[in-house]
């Protein structure tokens, strides 16, 4: 294992050096950093040029200059020495000073997009595979192809226009017009029909119920001015956490498992009681409080499972933990929603919450809830833009992977043994269908970081993409190289992680 990682690392380092060399030469071909002086009327032009030549070592031939750069970059590997040297910008700022800020912004963006795309994409893909050839499946397939063919900059601009400006305008008089209510309700109804399927009668029932329910919710939103003062409230929290509990039981233990139901029930009940108890504490919470609360929730969930226990203690603990954490998540969502009116009323927001640029409202005054809502309103659109394409890809992979696995002999064997379909899917098929996805996620992360260049431009997000783009167009070679080295190291790192995950998921693959 250790020797495998070591060998991989050595190869990776060599690869990065080689790629960096290619990149360095290409970047130097892409523009002359002295260009801007050619039409300058500054009296001290010569001297400024001399300074820049010295700073960027432009008098050294490119190939040699690369090794000077590499020497500086190699110092980054010395731990704690703080000797990292990735060169200077044309203005003489060390690239190492600029990188951390830029990385922070970009990672914030890309992480959320990746996580969401993985979770939603895999879920939809698997459901789509299990519902192969249904309307839902065709719809998902078409949708994923469509999303895959959408230029992200186009989507980004559309989102800004419709979601940000459109929704903000809508908030001036937040009532969904009746035709829209009908359209949304019917659309939702059709979606559920496609998802659940069944015979004609069942379809009609599903359609009727889901359409009416959606319409009712939307009308309630209209009447209660929900978009201005949103909240879930205790009843919805209770109903939804009960739903979560049921889903968890159904997925992990089967709906007939009494102990599992009991575990989930207790978790939900505790959550509901806590909902009332914790509110005053939440009002004065800091991030650390929330972290402690989250840990406590996890422990309570595990303990519930532990004490209900029975023969399948591990399973019960999983159910308890998942139910507790997800239900507690609802409390958080509810609390964030209640911060919404405060947020909307702030003088810096002026009733237009969804932002089109940047990562935060400057000088926001407010508690963590308001801050959280602010991050949400700023990250929403760029994350969506980044997510849609990855989502499409993951859906395809997950669907294909699941179908592949479902056609394997061992699944047939499992079914033939008389195992419940739930167990076959969750235990046998799901886990194995994840194996190929692990590699794809790793490969995709690099692509996603690259895609951030466009998204960052559309949403004026000053991350690494912006740094790269600026560096390339100025031209200012060292930030471009700084960007590259981060991207390359990340890509290699994620591929390594993918390989390790691979071996964890698939015992046949040994990492030697």
């Amino acid at each position: 294992m250790v020797s495998f990682i070591a060998r991989r690392l050595v190869v990776s380092v060599l690869l990065i050096i080689g790629a960096a060399f290619i990149m360095y030469v290409l970047t130097s071909l892409a523009g002359d950093p002295l260009e801007e002086f050619y039409q300058s009327r500054l009296p001290n032009r010569e001297q400024l040029m001399a300074q820049r030549i010295e700073r960027l070592q432009l008098n050294v031939p490119v190939a040699l200059r690369f090794f000077l750069w590499l020497g500086g970059a190699a110092k980054c590997l010395i731990p704690f020495a703080d000797a990292c040297d990735l060169g200077l910008t044309v203005q003489g700022q060390p690239v190492t000073e600029l990188l951390p800020q830029a990385m922070g912004a970009t990672l914030q963006l890309v992480t959320a997009a990746t996580v969401l795309a993985i979770i939603i994409g895999i879920t939809v893909g698997i459901v789509s595979a299990l519902r192969q050839y249904t309307t839902f499946d065709v719809f998902v397939t078409f949708l994923s192809f469509l999303l895959y063919s959408l230029p992200s900059f186009w989507v980004g601009v559309l989102l800004k226009e419709f979601v940000a400006i459109g929704f903000n305008n809508f908030l001036r008089d937040p009532v969904i017009p009746i035709p829209w209510v009908i359209a949304i309700a019917v659309g939702t109804g059709l979606l559920w029909v496609g998802l659940i399927g069944g015979d004609m009668r069942r379809r009609l029932t599903v359609f009727g119920v889901s359409t009416l329910a959606t319409a009712a919710v939307l009308v309630y939103f209209n009447l209660s001015n929900w978009f201005i003062t949103p909240a879930l409230g205790p009843v919805v929290v209770l109903v939804m956490s009960a739903g979560i509990g049921l889903v968890m039981v159904a997925l992990l233990a089967g709906i007939r498992n009494r102990r599992a139901l009991l575990t989930a029930g207790i978790s939900v009940a505790i959550t509901f009681v806590v909902y009332f108890l914790v509110q005053p504490l939440l009002n004065i919470s800091s991030l650390y409080t929330l972290m402690i609360l989250a840990a406590a929730t996890l422990v309570v969930g595990l303990l519930t499972g532990f004490f209900v226990g029975g023969p399948d203690r591990g399973q019960m603990m999983r159910i308890g933990a998942f139910t507790a954490v997800l239900s507690a998540g609802l409390i958080l969502v509810d609390r964030y929603m209640r911060a919404w009116p405060t947020y909307m009323g702030l003088s810096s927001i002026r009733g237009r919450p969804i932002a089109t640029v940047g990562a935060e409202t400057p000088n926001l005054v407010g508690d963590i809830w308001v801050q959280g809502v602010d991050s949400f309103t700023h990250l929403l659109l760029p994350t969506l833009t980044l997510m849609l394409i990855s989502f499409a890809a993951y859906t395809r992979y997950a669907r294909a992977g699941m179908l592949d696995v479902l056609n394997q002999d061992y699944i047939r064997t499992a079914r033939a043994k008389g195992m419940p379909e739930r167990v076959v899917i969750v235990r046998h098929a799901f886990r194995n269908s994840l194996i190929p996805i692990a590699t794809i996620v790793a490969a995709d992360f690099g692509a996603l970081l690259g895609g951030a260049i466009i998204t960052e431009q559309v949403f004026a997000f000053s991350g690494m993409g912006a740094m790269f783009q600026r560096g390339l167009s100025l031209p200012d070679p060292n930030p471009v190289m700084g960007y590259f080295i981060v991207i390359a190291v990340m890509a290699i790192l994620f591929n390594l992680i993918a390989d390790l995950t691979y071996s964890a998921l698939d015992p046949r693959v040994r990492t030697r």
Binding site: Y38, L42, A102, K160, S347, G358, N363, A460
Partner: protein, 586 residues
């Protein structure tokens, strides 16, 4: 054992509960009541990189704008490039013409935001930086690098003007300096001897204020022949060169002291800076708003959307036709368009090639330049009121420009005159090689238009466009060139640079004894009106010689939400914030 089983979780729970309570925060409560003035949010393309814009590394637009918000000076330039003195900071007085003697007296209200009074010490430091007085470096003529001696202050501007002055004489209880120039310096009015606070620079350099002042007032003028490094000044200069750069808010607030109405309050890297009222400010330029937030939004289109969405109040994006069109279509937004201080021009090579000693060919060629067509194609979509740019020297909107176009003869080239050109050529078909930047679409478009037009008159146009056009300037490998000058818009120092026979920016090989004489005269003329008169003369000569034609002035755009008033278009580098004290927010 039993106790432990109960006790351990109990202990854990207790500790957890304590931690939980310990980690809470107090309720921040309501937003502080909005004070009267309100907040204005401005979008800027680039991020702040330093709390100074005087060194060559920090001489960037946003740094300059930051200085505009947070530093007072003896004068500022209004939108028509008039010098407006700020007497609440200090007064400038020319006490003698012969020799030129100028006295700068600080108002006693002038102070830094840490409470320290602004004194002649600070003026001395600025003078030392801007004059290069102590420099004794000799430059390698090949590379431009320092061969021997020391170049102390890495000042971004030209030191030759203030370098003419002697060491200033401090007076009025350390509240004034008097500069005496060894020869007349035409741009003396643009000297603004205030920069970083000396007490901060001295402190960071590890020098006492007394020693610093002592060094500045006693160290001899630098002599490149006998370099002799002064350690104190070196320490001061090194600090001055580097200490004010930053990528985030430094913990030491002395690095961003203010002497104007606003002071930096916070800086979220890559996002925004926030400027709040400077409580110590006692001057006249008192703003109506309490807070100015500058957000960094690089993309022009993103700026427009942000303005539309109410996230920012004022924007100052890169101009493009659609930026302007979409701005004009927005409700509740006022769009301001105008010129920028940069212009594209066609120059003719005088010392080699087809135009050498051939005034008729020059005139014929210039007659074929489709100036209106180029203007219509490139500028009109962005600035519908744009007109042909008719001066080699003055910028539109200035008093001198109005004066010069009456007489300089530029109107002869307003319309393409193919027949007139043919008559002048008299059947000849001269070949003209035109140099331009093939990577600049505007230049390419201009070249194509000129090519099409000139060919009609019989010229053979050779495409000498190159990507390394800059290094080809002045090489004599072309007969005409299309490129742009970027200018500060004020001062007369550029005139001999470009049009003088030996000027560093004279790539055309242009030489006219009368122009040289006038340009030299201009250099020693101190009165603005007389300067203008001389420049009008030069302009007329340039047009008569067929120096070339200016093509257009680059358009610029600013826009603001209608909840803000007092925003005035400004063509210079100070940008939209040049009159921030006049802004109001409803």
């Amino acid at each position: 054992m039993k106790i432990n089983r109960i006790g351990a979780p109990l202990a854990v729970a207790t500790i957890a509960a304590m931690a939980l309570v310990g980690c809470t925060t107090t309720d921040p409560g309501e937003e502080p009541p909005a004070s009267t003035g309100g907040t204005i949010t401005v979008a800027e393309v680039n991020e702040l990189t330093a709390f100074t814009s005087s060194t060559s590394d920090t001489n960037l637009d946003m740094n300059g704008k930051f200085i505009g918000y947070t530093r007072s000076s003896f004068f500022y330039l209004d939108e028509a490039l008039n010098l407006i003195p700020d007497t609440s900071f200090g007064t400038v007085e020319k006490t003698s013409d012969e020799p030129l003697t100028v006295k700068y007296t600080l108002a006693d209200t002038a102070s830094w935001s840490d409470g320290t009074a602004i004194t002649a010490n600070d003026l001395l430091l600025a003078w030392a930086a801007q004059s290069g007085y102590f420099d004794d470096a000799s430059l390698d003529p090949e590379t431009g690098e320092v061969a021997s001696g020391t170049r102390y202050f890495d000042y971004a501007g030209d030191t030759s003007g203030l370098g003419l002055a002697d060491r200033p004489v401090v007076g009025d209880n350390n509240m004034s300096i008097t500069l005496t120039y060894s020869e007349p310096y035409a741009d003396w009015q643009l000297v603004n001897p205030i920069d970083a606070p000396l007490h901060v620079v001295a402190d960071k350099a590890g020098v006492s204020v007394e020693d610093a002042v002592d060094a500045l007032t006693t160290a001899p003028r630098g002599d490149a022949a006998n370099p002799n490094e002064n350690a104190t000044i070196k320490a001061l200069a090194d600090t001055w060169n580097t200490v004010f750069t930053a990528t985030s808010l430094p913990s030491d607030s002395s690095l961003y002291l203010s002497s104007a109405a606003f002071v930096l309050d916070s800086w979220t890297p890559k996002q925004s800076i926030t400027l709040v009222r400077n409580e110590a400010y006692k001057g006249d330029l008192v703003p109506n708003v309490d807070t100015i937030v500058v957000r960094f939004i690089g993309d022009a289109q993103a700026q427009v959307t942000a303005l539309q969405n109410g996230e920012v109040d004022i924007i100052n994006p890169q101009a493009s036709a659609d930026t302007i069109a979409s701005l004009q279509a927005l409700d509740g937004v006022t769009t301001l368009t105008g010129d920028q201080f940069s212009y594209d021009h066609l120059d003719i090579t005088f010392n080699t090639g087809v135009f050498q000693n051939a005034p008729d060919v020059r005139e014929a060629f210039l007659k074929t330049i489709p100036r209106q067509q180029i203007l219509d194609a490139i500028v009109t979509p962005q600035n519908p009121e744009a007109q042909q740019y008719d001066s080699q020297i003055f910028f539109p909107g200035t008093a001198g420009y109005e004066e010069t176009i009456k007489s300089n003869g530029a109107d002869a080239y307003h319309e393409v005159d193919i027949e007139g050109a043919k008559a002048l050529l008299n059947g000849a078909t001269p070949t003209v090689r035109i140099l331009y930047n093939i990577n600049n679409p505007n230049r390419v478009a201009a070249f194509q238009a000129i090519q099409a037009s000139a060919q009609q008159a019989g010229f053979v146009i050779e495409d000498a466009g190159a990507e390394n056009w800059g290094s080809l300037l002045g090489s004599g490998t072309y007969d005409a060139s299309i490129f742009g000058w970027i200018s500060s818009g004020v001062g007369v120092g550029g005139v001999p640079q470009i049009f003088g026979t030996t000027g560093g920016g004279n790539y055309s090989g242009y030489s006219n004894a009368e122009v040289d004489r006038l340009a030299n005269l201009l250099q020693v003329t101190l009165d603005k009106d007389e300067q203008d008169a001389i420049q009008v003369e030069i302009d007329k000569l340039l047009w008569a010689d067929g120096y070339g034609v200016p093509l257009f002035v680059a358009p610029g755009v600013m826009a603001h939400s209608d909840s803000v008033s007092g925003v005035v278009y400004y063509p210079g580098q100070a940008g939209v914030g040049w009159n921030f004290w006049e802004w109001t927010k409803s």
